[in-house]
Amino acid sequence: MTAAAAPWLLAGIPLAGALLSLFAWANAARLRTSAVLVSAITFGAAIGLTGRLASPPEGALLLYLLPVAACVSLLGQPLHHDHRLSWVATLLLLGLGLGVLALPTIGGPLFLMLLLGCLIALLYRYHTPLWPISWLGIGTYGFGAMCAAVSMIAARPFSAAASLLACATLLPLVPFHEGHVTSITRLPGSLPSFIVLLLPALGLHGLAAVLPAAPGPIAWIVTLLAMAGSLYGAVKALAQSRVRLLLAYGSLSFFSMVWWFAASAGHATSQASVFIGAAGFATSGLLLAWQVIRTRYGDDVDPQAISGLAFTMPRYAVLLSLLALAAMGLPPFGVFAAFMGLFLNTPISSALGPFIMLLAWLTASWYVMRMAQQLLFGTRRSDLRYADLIHTEFASLFIVVLVLLALGVTPSNLFAPARNAPSATMDSIAWQK
């Protein structure tokens, strides 16, 4: 197989899987099993094809993590007919996402536009009285798709600026974060827990290509927006009582940190991809854990109304505690390791930036802990029926914890791009003629 065919094969497996899974549409159990299998095969393919793929500037880690995220997102869902579209859409988005990451030339932006188009359609399709339609979110993704198109056709430096703006809609950066918040809160089934890793991964991929050549003022603006976003996300997360909003804003706060580190260092390192992977996986795990509660007590359940799960659902309690630890940035999980790594390898020019990053990191200990505490501890309610995790839910959360642990203890240079490998950096992205 030639190196040119490898990215198409990698993107093609989940796309073909999505198409084939339609044959099992009538049987939800078979559909989910086939979707899980396809994502597992994609993971194997990503590992097998590593040597034939162009090495992304941020490293190949995210290529491996995306199929795993899809797999755990699918595993963690209850068997219900209503979720079938979300399972197929997960495979579809996985294929498009891998295409964006693996295809070095014009194919990447094309796949990105398609992916954003799918997301817009899904956001338009899914809304409930609890989560009404968000035109702002749809508009943000539309803007992102437009920027991706402009980056393909415009001359320099407009293409680079458009590419950076597209990145800001994917890897959420204030004020282009509304798509991120909307997709996590509105989308059904397996999609939020997958998208929370997919889109930031694609954003980082674009950022790694566009940022090294960014002029000083642009980097300065990005730094300011990243600081504002990190603080804004943390403050908003503190105010939320609805779990999905809390996680959306909490992840916004963490993803904004990546912008700050990247802008301060002038490039996105492999540690940034570890951070994206870890923060994305931690949020994904918490969304899956919340899905467990929604499955048992309904979508509109108030977390304050559930308590005492530590005594009645011990397996769930242990996994949720570990996920909360990871999301708070505590060791030995990946968020902490990558956060430390980024800080130790980023040149610091002023005290304000690190202060805000540390404040956002610290704030996570308050809102994540509060959320986990509300669910796990307190008195047991006798009027509630408690049922611990079923096998698929357990497997899903357990894999997430294992991945987070692996990201925390594995040396980050293992994920660094190979020095002699062909680079996937888009040549068109340059700020000066």
Partner: protein
């Protein structure tokens, strides 16, 4: 030295033994797990011997020359300080674990609790034997979370609220600690202890955080790290978490007050060469420690709950420990934390029995008991005067005159002498309470107390300091860095002396049944201060108010921006 690695992980093995297995074998496993805990103690003692005779042990599972590719760089650096701490922790851990087997018997979550005790001991041992600042920080943070878990009874609302506040407050300290690490790495390019100290000494750096304001790099780093230490060692104003954790099981208190809370003192000692470069940080430590000692002791006196009383007593003692560090007496601080740890662990492990006994066996005075006749005793008072005022003064003069130690130039010696005096006075007052009993036994007890304290301090000054810090020049340099302006130092000594003498006078007059004429405003102030200290300076309420205000502002901000997210 493979057994070196075993020592921190034996308590972890104990935790694993406790949690793995069925319900029927739970009690047997709990007892079995006590053996690895005990083995850890024996290993720690053996390690202390090896380290004392053969020098520090360094084991690294990473390449220190490589850039931060591994965020968590595991390794062990065990010098005499680490070994001493490991002996203390493993001893206290073993005693508490063994005690807990009986104490928590039939508790539905006994196995979880015992496993947490084992795991906490493991974390503490790893923390004190860390090879670098990052590893120390990793275990430092885990300790913050473990303190949350060790509250144990999370179904109880007050326990849960206390545990949450403890965690959130400790995380503030953790954030400052992390800031210190980042700054240290950016300034010196390493986080390995010996290399960090060498570079900090070799290349002093000046920072300019704002125009016209310059700060020494070592000062900035140590101040940030000190905030981290303040939170763990419950220093004012970050002390509020300790009294709030009173709902935890009593053995947890023993572990907390004897082991975990010493983390701040250990941190400063671990980084003594770095702290020894910054007079500013040491002076800040002195001020914070002094305030904590005074306020902690004052609040302790006004509490009416035994656990709270002991909690504030610990805060006061931790204040002393930090104050000693601030004066440059690092080894004295370690000595203090060991003595206090053992004492407080004993008290906590015993206080449950006392309460239990008092509840179940109400004590009535023995009808045949003959009250000792109280009266003014010349013998007792003369001995008291000699032991607490005359002999210390004599020692001071002898040291100055006969031994030709330049006391006025060496604050360190004065500090040690002063501590001997204050401690012996406090011990004599506490032990005898000057009940004016005309007995030679009381006089003998006073003399023995003084002798005991003098010898203990001599040991602390000479042997223990030489053991922990074999280089006398280094010890002298700590004192020099910590030296206060001579006028201030003299004033403090004079004020403390006057206060001690005033205390004696007050007690003397009380013993004679005399009253002191005090102005009315002073009486009012005494009552107001009592109420203030009884309510713990309203610090809890203040923190709650601040939290409420912050959350109200956040919610107001959220409501204004809600249109965006809907």
């Amino acid at each position: 030295m493979p057994f070196v690695i075993l020592v921190p992980f034996l308590p972890l093995l104990a935790a694993v033994i406790v949690v793995t297995g069925g319900v029927r074998s739970r009690q047997a496993r709990a007892r079995l797990a006590a053996w690895p805990m005990g083995a850890a103690f024996c290993g720690a003692v053996a390690m202390l011997y090896v380290v004392a005779t053969e020098g520090p042990i360094t084991i690294r599972f990473y390449d220190p020359a490589s850039l931060a590719s591994l965020a968590v760089r595991l390794g062990f650096y065990i010098d005499r300080l680490s070994a001493v701490m490991m002996v203390l922790i493993s001893a206290v851990g073993t005693i508490i674990y063994t005690y807990s087997i009986g104490y928590m018997h039939q508790d539905p979550h006994e196995h979880r609790y015992l496993a947490l005790i084992g795991f906490t001991t493991c974390v503490l041992l790893c923390m004190v034997s860390s090879a670098n600042l990052v590893m120390l920080f990793v275990f430092w943070q885990l300790l913050s979370y473990l303190l949350y878990l060790l509250a144990h009874n999370h179904a109880h609302a007050a326990t849960l609220a206390g545990a949450y506040r403890t965690f959130t407050l400790l995380r503030v300290g953790d954030a400052a600690f992390l800031a210190g690490i980042i700054l240290a790495y950016s300034l010196y390019g390493t986080l390995e202890f010996p290399a960090l100290f060498t570079k900090a000494v070799a290349a002093p750096v000046m920072l300019s955080p704002a125009p016209g304001w310059e700060i020494n790099g070592a000062t900035a780093v140590t101040l940030l790290l000190f905030i981290g230490g303040m939170s763990k060692s419950a220093q004012f104003p970050m002390h509020v978490w300790l009294p709030r954790s009173l709902y935890a099981p009593t053995p947890v208190h023993a572990l907390l007050h004897a082991g975990i809370i010493n983390a701040g003192g250990f941190l400063i000692n671990r980084l003594a060469p770095l702290f020894g470069l910054s007079s500013t940080t040491l002076h800040v430590a002195f001020v914070v420690g002094t305030m904590t000692a005074i306020l902690g002791a004052a609040m302790m006196l006004a509490q009416n709950d035994i656990k709270k009383t002991l909690g504030f007593s610990t805060i006061g003692q931790m204040g002393y420990m930090i104050m000693e560090c601030g004066l440059g007496a690092f080894s004295l601080a370690v000595f203090h934390l060991i003595a206090h740890g053992l004492f407080k662990a004993t008290v906590f492990l015993n206080c449950g029995n006392v309460i239990h006994k008092a509840r179940h066996e109400p004590h009535f005075p023995d009808p045949g008991h003959q009250q000792e006749q109280e009266g003014f005793s010349r013998l007792t008072w003369l001995t008291g005067f000699l032991t607490t005022l005359f002999i210390p003064l004599l020692i001071l003069l002898l040291t100055h005159g006969a031994l030709h130690i330049p006391l006025l130039e060496t604050q360190g010696t004065v500090i040690f002498l002063f501590f001997i005096w204050v401690t012996s006075s406090q011990a004599i007052l506490t032990l005898t309470r000057l009940r004016a009993v005309a007995s030679w036994k009381v006089s003998a007890a006073m003399l023995l107390t003084l002798l005991f304290i003098v010898f203990v301090y001599l040991f602390a000054v000479e042997s223990f300091t030489a053991f922990l810090y074999p280089d006398p020049q280094q010890v002298a340099s700590f004192f020099q860095t910590a030296a206060l302006p001579s006028g201030l130092f003299d004033a403090m000594i004079v004020i403390s002396t006057l206060m001690t003498i005033a205390g004696w006078t007050y007690l003397y007059m009380t013993a004679h049944g005399r009253t002191m004429r005090t102005p009315r405003w002073l009486d009012g102030l005494k009552i107001r201060l009592y109420v203030l200290f009884m309510n713990r300076l309203y610090a809890d309420e203040l923190y709650e108010l601040l939290g409420d205000v912050a959350m109200r502002l956040i919610h107001r901000f959220d409501k204004r921006k809600q249109g965006w997210s809907q």
